[in-house]
Symmetry: D2
Subunit: 367 residues, 4 copies
């Protein structure tokens, strides 16, 4: 099956390697009637484009998207939307020296074990460029969410040890620093930390937080397709993410029931919660409050420092990973986390349509 | 779709409510030829059975499993295996008083919003009893893993703030304390903490760790069905789990590339890693080392303490959750985490069979 | 995967063998709020029950259904509905003599090749009793269709060479003869034909026709999940069905475009077709007219006549299939074809809900 | 979901409209290590290319395929294979006159009802050009089948009333006539029939037969994913196909058990069948003999003759379908039926790998 499809109704299928002809995605199951243009999608892709700050790879890619199908006279038609981004800067000579080496922290070794063959050019399918398809699909998902008044926003909560606690968030500052942190001050210190690591041929990771507003209660399917569970799969499927949590997450495990339960209250006919330790999900269904999730991103595996490893003949050796690599991928991964969250929510919104007979009567009696 | 099916090839479909006639699971796609008995499955179920220690609910359930199909003359036949556990102790009178209230921390409110109807007896489908089907399926998955020399073991790493660091693990002690902790000493202190909370009509959570040994390299499917991603879905889909991480997980986000990368080395023709910060997964594929994951479990939502809430008419009110509830569900959830891990690994083992043409030739030329 | 699940949103998973403890189905994705009782399902099951006429097996089975989950206070809750029918008359001694023989026309040989093991008692999983789960699920699907004014009805068009042309249908007579034919006269002659075959230890097949009324236009998903395609899978998946056609079907292949195209016309604001050679489907989507499909059922494979075959040691030998077998399964398969059609339509009705943004707005703005 | 994906393990997702930028397919789950080139795929596409004989549309399309991913150094890598064919001859002016009319026999009306929007240029998604993706995927599937000694071949059995009975097949003549019939003589008469219809602005259909050789016994999954059932879906999902049958198909319904059962016999240690009324499938699993299926293709719906219809405002009117249309699509659909059969068989070959524990041990112990 090879795992390139995500979603039940709003389904995305990505394809493409780092140094092949291109990268793309097919979005099947997007409802007809949404206004969609290449410019709209391009704006999302530009947020993950390389070369935007001193903390990102110098690889020079326009990452221009082309809509190949599924849109007619500016609107989605309900048929699959195929999106293509051509790879341009395919300097695969940079990767010749690693063709016969297993890079630490990378998928080279298990890929070879699994497939018996490996596209060694820049990580091939396991390259970060694979996320282009996710972001393009995320743009379309966001369009659907927007129609229903739902917004999704991700930002950098931490770079290495430099973390911002939620009471100090300054959301207006997110776009003001190249790390997408809700605090210019912390971003400044994190930036110095990254510069220091770069000079030491090292790298770091961080934490991305994502918030969704405007969700109706009831999204998510009980048991295996819980809102939490599908979001966990969606976000953990992003390369370099090693942990996911909702609401208080791991901290909740050290709390008590009396502190962790969010009391309900009613005001002007609207039911809300006084607190939101749950992060917007109860029993795997959205509870109408803000959805909050966090993803732990490991340090970039590609570092210029010499590392010990094994070659494809099974001999011990050393490796120095050359090429153009981000010292930290967190800032560019922000829009990827946001996109995967949007795709998951869009799918669950559609799945939820058939939960009860009243919804069904509403649709078919309208006709 | 309603989310009751998990897995692509080794697929489990669970059903059942807390106070209905029974709970069960259909396991489809289990290979033919495995020796399977009710006694084997029962041993797994007994590990999650209530009433085993002073820290678990007094609900009295034998939870006896019956194999309804898929086994002939003591062996699996390749057809779906249907398993049934009858509910016996259905004291639904305990729940009458909450029929019209939304319990804080529970799924009552979003279920009602989603379906327009709610089985209010003991949580219905969102009850912890739903996990019976998972554990029964996990027993079968373990059987398949065992055939290939793979073992999966889970235990309690932390109860509330009482956590054991990995260098202090005493694995031989896990079965010696009713909390399934690899340290009798910490278990002792955690037990006192739980007793204290019980006297205060409060509850706590904890952290469960799960380790799988003997995995070949290459399990997991790139992109969306990464080993990490499917395990995250599997484990996060367990009620009360609010966070999942692999290897160093969230701690990795504060590390550096030079520290977090695991160097490869070769010895006697075998490729291994010197460290295992990755927790056994690189690029979403197993790397041949130990798989390590952790799940954060929130404190039990059902507490006897009076809480503020709203009733089904939307009026502010108070609730006192009576009935028999675990002050901490962690010990009973250990086997559930282990089961979901086993089911995920079994499925990925089968998916991996078709990764390359050499595997396929091997099977079809044998005939 | 082993193929025991059908449907995308309204999903059914069947399990069970002819001579195991029981047969059942799990229906996941049924909307909440439908009135459902065991009596309602039982009425469907009674239509396929053995022992109802001289043309059906004497096997004595009550085939009583028990609802194990998914229904609360007489209504579906949106969670999986698990249904169980215990096998009662398990005279497996009848099958001892065929344990080591491959019955012609049966799945014995390929099952053994595939699984390396075979439940030889009465066909095991490939027994006609497997259809119990389909019919129980079909009852639930019909309930959903009924809510939207859609009816599905199947009947016997032909028994062996005795076929009724559509202009001679007398629908009122279907329930008056034990072959469920819309012509008592043809049923009479077909009955004599069957009696003759029984005396010769032989069997016959026939054609079942199924008609659905009240479908809105637009059901079905373009390309692979066309209405025609999913109905073809659904109906061809019934054991003994060897052909499926919609509308004029095979006859259309010998027609011309000018005769086969159905002209549209409009009357009182309603768009209809003057003819219905298409059988209610255009481009794989329902077109608002009557859906008509036919299934070709092969003669019963189990015949008492001595046949040539091979045993499990690969030696040439003879076989005489004893036991209780229907000389023709068509009458009992009528409700199975109807059920599979209902299940397919129910699923496509739910899938169609998300086809356009207007439907989605309608549901979410209602709240 | 919108139905653009087919297959469980070997999965194909097609996209594209008749007059959009292009048409394509993503093949996910193809094993690594198969030799694959654009030239190989192109040879399949050339068989369905328009403009090859006087019986096919004059639309001028090179239909050149580009491999965008999944192939490295001439071999498949196990990652998704994305294939793109640009549309070139997009004379959409031909379709302007039908933008506001519902063409009889076409999907225009139900598409509009379903999506509220319609790409009216040449049928859009429901155009025959959609099958380009199927054929490209079929080429890859054939490659996998070839590795295991399986061949799939389709041809024209009938054009309108001109049908060839199997005892008169001359397989060597298939490539000698532009209708791909195994009889030049019948092809000659069928050709005259088509010419006659063309002069009358009319069209015809026909029957395509497909045969697969070399299949091991046991392919197919019991119950819903039977070999017959998935083939039926696969073939019926091709636009214009209105009926499917295996082996004797509809004729079997008028036969008797004693004639229709295929006796087994053993020779030199190999088990075979004396006859093949079943068409190579017993109980939904391949039985080791030749697989035979037939598809009924309706007459081309686009005819130049004036027809009665309704416009998008619901008014009665007339339509004359201009543009370039095949008077019969059967010859070009031959490779489409062959491709869908190959895709289905490839998928079932992979699914079958995990049927028993012996296969699994064989793969994992090899390592």
């Amino acid at each position: 099956m090879s795992g390139s499809t995500f979603g039940r109704i709003f389904r995305i299928t990505t394809w493409g390697e780092s140094h092949g002809p291109g990268i793309g995605v097919v979005v099947d199951g997007c409802p007809a009637g949404l206004p969609l243009s290449e410019a709209y999608i391009q704006a999302f892709l530009d947020r993950r484009k390389p070369g935007q700050s001193k903390y990102t790879t110098k690889r020079n890619e326009a990452d221009s998207v082309e809509i190949l199908s599924g849109v007619f006279e500016g609107k989605t038609t309900g048929t699959p939307i195929s999106l293509l981004v051509r790879n341009q800067d395919q300097r695969s000579r940079d990767y010749g020296n690693i063709a016969s080496l297993f890079r630490p922290g990378h998928a080279d070794y298990p890929f070879t074990e699994k497939y018996g063959i490996r596209d060694y050019r820049g990580g091939g399918r396991s390259s970060g460029r694979e996320t282009i398809g996710r972001v393009a699909a995320g743009a379309i998902a966001s369009l659907l969410l927007k129609e229903l008044g739902i917004t999704v926003r991700a930002y950098t909560k931490a770079i290495g040890p430099y973390s911002i606690s939620s009471e100090n968030y300054k959301f207006s500052e997110i776009e003001e620093n190249s790390l997408y942190m809700p605090s210019n001050e912390t971003a400044q210190r994190a930036g110095e930390y990254i510069s220091q690591l770069m000079s030491e041929k090292d790298s770091c990771g961080g934490v991305i937080e994502c918030v969704a507003d405007g969700l109706p209660a009831g999204l998510g399917e009980p048991v295996f397709d819980k809102l939490d569970a599908l979001l966990a799969q969606a976000v953990m499927s992003i390369g370099a993410v090693k942990g996911v949590e909702l609401g208080d997450g791991f901290a909740a495990s050290a709390s008590t029931g009396s502190r962790n339960n969010d009391p309900f209250f009613s005001e002007n006919g609207t039911i809300s919660k006084k607190t939101n330790h749950a992060g917007g999900s109860l029993g795997g269904l959205s509870d109408g409050s803000e959805l909050i999730l966090r993803a732990a991103v490991k340090p970039t595996s590609s570092i210029a420092r010499t590392q010990q490893t094994v070659n494809t003949d099974g001999e011990n050796t050393e490796i120095t990973v050359l090429g153009r690599h981000d010292p930290v991928i967190v800032p560019r991964a922000v829009v990827v986390v946001e996109s995967m969250t949007a795709v998951t929510l869009a799918d669950l919104l559609l799945q939820n349509m058939t939960a009860n007979i009243e919804n069904i009567r509403t649709v078919y009696r309208r006709k």
